[in-house]
Amino acid sequence: MRNADVLRFARDAATAYPLRTSLSVLAMAIGVAAVVVLTALGDGARRYVVEQFSSLGSNLVIVLPGRSATGGFSPANALTTTPRDLTVDDAFALVRLPSVRRVAPLTAGNSEINANGRLREVVVAGTVSTYLDIRGFKMAQGSFLPEADWNRGAPVAVIGSKIKEEIFGGAPAVGELVRLGDRRLRVVGVLRSVGQGLGMNTDEVVFVPVGVAQSLFNTHTLFRILIEARSRDEIAAVKREAAASLKARHGGEEDVTVITQDAVLATFDKLLRALTAAVAGIAAISLAVAGILVMNVMLVAVTQRTAEIGLLKALGARGATIRNAFMAEAAMLSLVGALTGYGLGLLGAFILRLLYPVFPAYPPDWAVVAALVTSLSTGLLFGIMPARRAALLDPVQALMKH
C-alpha cells in the first residue's frame, strides 16, 4: 500500500466517526493548550520580574549593610563583631573610585505627609541629586533634589505622582509647603509616574535630601548605597573596589554586602525558570492523559472495525499495512489535536495579555516544541498497542463479526 493511500485511508477512517475523533482531538488539544498557557504564565512572570529589575537602572551595584553570607561562629567573630552602619561618608568615599560614575545614598522610613488639609502615610526616601539619573526616573513637574553637600540638606521635597494626585489633586504642587513629620518642606518637583518597582511604589514615595531624612528619623545610617558603574563591563570592578574601600573604612571588617543587579536578576531568573518548568511538567500530565484517551479511542476503533480489518486481510492486506493504517490514524488525531491546542494556547496567552497588558505572557519556544513533540509521541506510543491488536486479528474470526 502506498504511503499516500495509507494517509488517505486513515483520514477517511477518522472522519467517518466525527464524534469519537473530535473528542480525542479535543483532549489532546486541551493538553497542549494547557502546556502553552501555563508556560506562558510562568515565563510571563519571569519576564515581568526581569523587566522590573531592568527598570531599577542599568549597570547598578547595590551596597547593603551587614553580611548576607553566614560564616558560622568563630571566636574572632565574637570579639570583633561590632557591625558598623553604612554612613553618608561611606557613600561619599565611593564616588572617588575609578570605575564609578555615580553614587546615591539611600535611607528610608515611614512618616506622615500633611498638606493642603490632608494627611497621608508615606514612605520617605532620603537621597541626593544623582538618584534620579541612577534610577532613570523622569520629572513630571519641577526638578529633582538640588545638588548640595550631602550632609546638609535643604528643606525641599520631591513627591511621587500618586501623592501629588491625592494631596493636591489638579492644583499645582511645585512651590507648595508640606509638613513631613515635624519638618516643613517645600515641594520642588513631582516625579513622572513609573508604576510598581519591586515592592516600593515610587509613585507613593516622598524624596528628601538624605540629611533631612536622617535628622527626621534621628539616625545616621543608610538603607542602601546605589552605585552606577561606568559601563556594563566595569560592574565587577565596581563591586570589587566598593567592597575593598568599605572594608578599609570599616577597620578591615567585611560588614557590608555588595550585590549586582545581574546576580539578583540571575537568581530570580533561575527561580522562575524552574517554576515554569514545574508548571510545564504538571501540564504535561494532561498530555499523557490525552495519549491514553487516544489509545482508548483507537482500541474502540479496532473493535468497531473488526469486520473491516478481516475484510482487508481477505483482500490481501499484510499485517504491517493494517498496523500502519491505524498508527497513521492515531498520529493524525494527535497531530490535529496538537495543532488545535497550540492555536488555543496562543489564543489563551493573547487573552491573558489583553487582560493584563503589563504581563508579557508569551509561551517560551522550548515549551511549545516540547508540547508538540510530546503530544505526537504519546499519540504514536499509545497508538502502537491498538494497531498491533488490529494487525494480529484472526481474519476468520474478524470476518464473522458484523
Binding site: M1, R2, A4, D5, F9, D12, A13, A16, A307, E308, G310, L311, L312, K313, A314, L315, G316, A317, R318, G319, A320, T321, P395, V396, L399, H402
Partner: protein, 234 residues
C-alpha cells in the same frame, strides 16, 4: 492443470477439552475453470474449507497446492500476497466498507496492492461499467440495494483478476430474483474462465453447478465428479 490440490487436509478446533474435527482426511482436486458447489448442513465444515482455500486459515495437517505451489508453508505476508493476487472473496453479508463509495470499495484491493491511483481509477471505471454500476460509482453502500451491493462486492473480488473466486452463500441475504441475478453474474464470470467455488446450503443453487461437493461432519461424503472415490472414502 489442477488449480487447487488438497491432500490429507486436517483441521481440528479445540473447544475446552474436546477436539472437533472441522475437516478430516480431505483430498480434493479442482481444475482451472471449474464451477464447484460446496454443500452440506451447518457445521459440516464447508465454511472452514472455504476459509482454508482462501488462505484465511491454515490446516493442521496435509498439503494445499494452489496453481502447483504449496501455499501452506508460506509466511503470513506471502499468503497475503497470494490472497491479493490470486483469490477473490464474495461474502454473504457483502462486507463493503460503509464509509467508502462503491468505486472506492472496488478499488480497495488495488490500493492495498499498491497500484497507482491513475490505473486504479481507469480499472474501476471499466469494472463498474461491466457490472452495470456506472451510475452508482459515488454511492455509499447504504445508498445501494442488496443486489447492487453484492455486485459491487463481486466487482471488488474480481478487480485483481484472481485465479479462484470464492463465494460464501452469496445469495443468503438476497431475495430470490436478485439472488438469481447474482448467480447469473457469477456464472458469466465462470464461463469466461474463472474458477468459481460457491458454498451454499440451497440445493437449487448447488445443483446449478457442474460439480457438487457434499460435506458432512468434516468429511467429503459425495463428489459428483468422482462418485466411486468419494463413496470409497466413507
Amino acid at each position: 492443470m489442477a488449480v487447487i490440490e488438497l491432500a490429507g487436509i486436517e483441521r481440528v478446533f479445540h473447544l475446552g477439552d474436546s477436539a472437533v474435527h472441522a475437516l478430516s482426511r480431505l483430498d480434493v482436486g479442482i481444475e482451472a475453470g471449474e464451477y464447484v458447489a460446496i454443500m452440506g448442513p451447518s457445521g459440516s465444515g464447508k465454511s472452514t474449507l472455504l476459509n482454508l482455500l482462501g488462505l484465511l486459515d491454515r490446516p493442521d495437517a496435509g498439503s494445499y497446492r494452489l496453481e502447483g505451489r504449496d501455499v501452506t508453508t508460506l509466511s503470513p505476508d506471502e499468503q497475503a500476497a497470494v490472497r491479493s493476487q490470486r483469490i477473490g472473496f464474495v461474502f454473504q453479508s457483502f462486507h463493503l466498507v460503509p464509509r467508502l463509495t462503491a468505486a472506492e470499495n472496488v478499488a480497495l484491493p488495488m490500493m492495498l496492492a499498491g497500484i497507482p491511483a491513475a490505473e486504479r481509477a481507469q480499472r474501476v471505471t471499466q469494472a463498474l461499467k461491466d457490472f452495470g454500476l456506472d451510475q452508482r460509482a459515488d454511492h455509499r453502500p447504504d445508498q445501494l440495494s442488496g443486489g447492487q451491493r453484492q455486485r459491487v462486492a463481486i466487482a471488488r473480488a474480481t478487480i485483481m483478476q484472481p485465479a479462484v473466486l470464492l463465494a460464501d452463500e452469496p445469495t443468503g441475504n438476497l431475495d430470490r430474483a436478485t439472488g438469481d441475478d447474482v448467480i447469473h453474474l457469477l456464472e458469466a464470470l465462470n464461463e469466461r474462465g474463472m474458477t468459481l467455488i460457491i458454498v451454499t446450503h440451497d440445493p437449487k443453487i448447488g445443483t446449478r453447478a457442474r460439480r457438487q461437493l457434499m460435506m458432512e461432519d468434516g468429511e467429503l461424503r459425495h463428489d459428483s465428479a468422482r462418485p466411486s472415490a468419494a463413496a470409497a472414502a466413507t
